[in-house]
Amino acid sequence: MIEIKDALKRFLDVNVLDHVSLRILDGDRIALMGPNGAGKTTLVRSILGFYHLDSGQIMVEGHDPIKKRVEVLEFIGFIPQMPPPIRLSIKELMEYVSKSSHIDPENIEEEAEAMDLAIADHLNKPFFKLSGGMKQKLLIAIALAKEAKTLIFDEPTANLDPKARERFYERLQKLPEGITTLFITHRIEEVEGLINRKIYMDLGKVVEDERI
């Protein structure tokens, strides 16, 4: 469970998170929506422990993401919107994630195969030299292989072709019931069958929170 109580985050006198309170329960499948600058990414980054709140509190499975970042991040799998230009090779990246998150590298390979990505052919290639779609598939495979309790996706299908997108959604439908997913998305129709809750943010506030 993720509990956000009266979270306030300011950047240059602007309330990017303006007293946000939310309770995300186990098994919630959330679409987090809102215009650019609404505070969606800031909220996710605060959950991941990247930002120090000015006031309020975030607890992930009873842990503060700043004080107990290692414990918190064991519960979360994260996929960014744009795959970053990581200079490690695929093999090195897999070593980093498997050793830091106790993931079996075979799980990553299996998840990648399910996304039509044959990792074995590219192991020594630097990650940033893969195509956009391949990078995104690998990041999805890593997040799913982590078997985390909460999966956070920031526009995860932006770089995927229609077939890969379909495969991704098929895979998500197979997730166990207790798993929580949080999609930051602008296209609700894409995740419609995968969600049971819609949260709409604007100007740093939660303006709508609807269970489906």
Binding site: R45, L48, G49, F50, Y51, H52, R69, V70, E71, V72, L73, E74, I76, F78, P80, M82, P84, P85, I86, R87, L88, E92, E95, Y96, V97, K99, S100, S101, P126, L139
Partner: protein
């Protein structure tokens, strides 16, 4: 500790493939080769012969190139990772900030120290075996320690700048200012102060000795010229105040402690400020 060594190991592997490392390697290895080709190791100038002459020139080159290379490549890499969201992704895994920060620092230290150390060893071996003469073990050891401390201080400063300044361009700009200030401006400013305000010269020299580049320069010169005759009156102050051995100890320990101080301060900010 396991994750710290993992971060360090991967940073080393990644850096060895990068273009900046290749340039860095070529500069120091190439310079040493250039010294051999141009016959610096054979020349006799001002009483410095063969190997001493070669190493003395290597010191001068190191003082100018090493700090700016460490500063710019380190801040470029770290603030670049922040701006390109690499840091966001890498830190979304359960790895402590302590392991990540000190692991990066350890990896980067190995990468910046190894080429200069190897170039030094190459120079000494060339001088000792090709040109003949005794292998100067003591000089090699102390000079390696001085190089170690020069790397440590500028790496500490670079990590401090990287965590404090979020923008990549500003971080590179700050690095240049730090470098040029320590390389030239402090000496000019101190001489100006001494002339204009008639400050006590002991005080001026003491302030100059807070500059890690100055400390490295004097420490390294003292290896070849223990009486510091090339430095003129400043030598009296240094040798009277410290003595040769104590000064060498200061020249090795002070930059290491200063570098660690900056690195620790950088870590403090890394932990207490927003990561992105």
């Amino acid at each position: 500790m396991k994750n710290l060594s993992l971060v360090a190991k991967l940073d080393i592997r990644e850096s060895t493939r990068s273009k900046w490392f290749l340039v860095y390697l070529l500069i120091f290895g190439g310079l040493m080769a250039l010294f051999f080709i141009t016959g610096i190791a054979d020349s006799v100038v001002m009483g410095f012969t063969g190997l001493s002459r070669l190493l003395l020139i290597y010191i001068q080159v190191t003082i100018v190139i090493l700090p700016i290379f460490i500063l710019v490549t380190t801040v470029r890499s770290i603030s670049g990772d922040r701006e390109s969201a690499v840091l966001e992704y890498m830190l979304s895994f359960p790895i402590s900030l302590r392991d990540y920060y000190w692991g990066k620092m350890l990896g980067r230290f190995v990468i910046v120290f190894t080429p200069v150390f190897l170039a030094l060893v190459l120079g000494v071996l060339y001088g000792a075996f090709i040109k003949g003469g005794e292998l100067p073990w003591k000089m090699l050891l102390v000079y390696s320690a001085l190089l170690f401390s020069l790397c440590a201080v500028f790496l500490g400063i670079a990590f401090f700048i990287s965590t404090l300044v979020k923008s990549h361009d500003v971080a590179v700009g700050v690095s240049f200012v730090v470098w040029i200030t320590l390389l030239a401006f402090i000496d000019i400013a101190l001489i100006g102060l001494m002339l204009a305000n008639r400050w006590n010269d002991d005080l001026i020299i003491s302030i100059a000795l807070l500059n890690p580049m100055e400390v490295f320069r004097v420490g390294a010169i003292s290896l070849f010229d223990p009486e510091l005759t090339v430095m003129g009156p400043v030598a009296y102050f240094l040798l009277d105040t410290f003595g040769h051995t104590l000064f060498l100890l200061y020249a090795i320990m002070y930059p290491i402690l200063l570098g660690f101080g900056f690195a620790w301060l950088g870590y403090w900010f890394f932990k207490r400020k927003d990561l992105l």
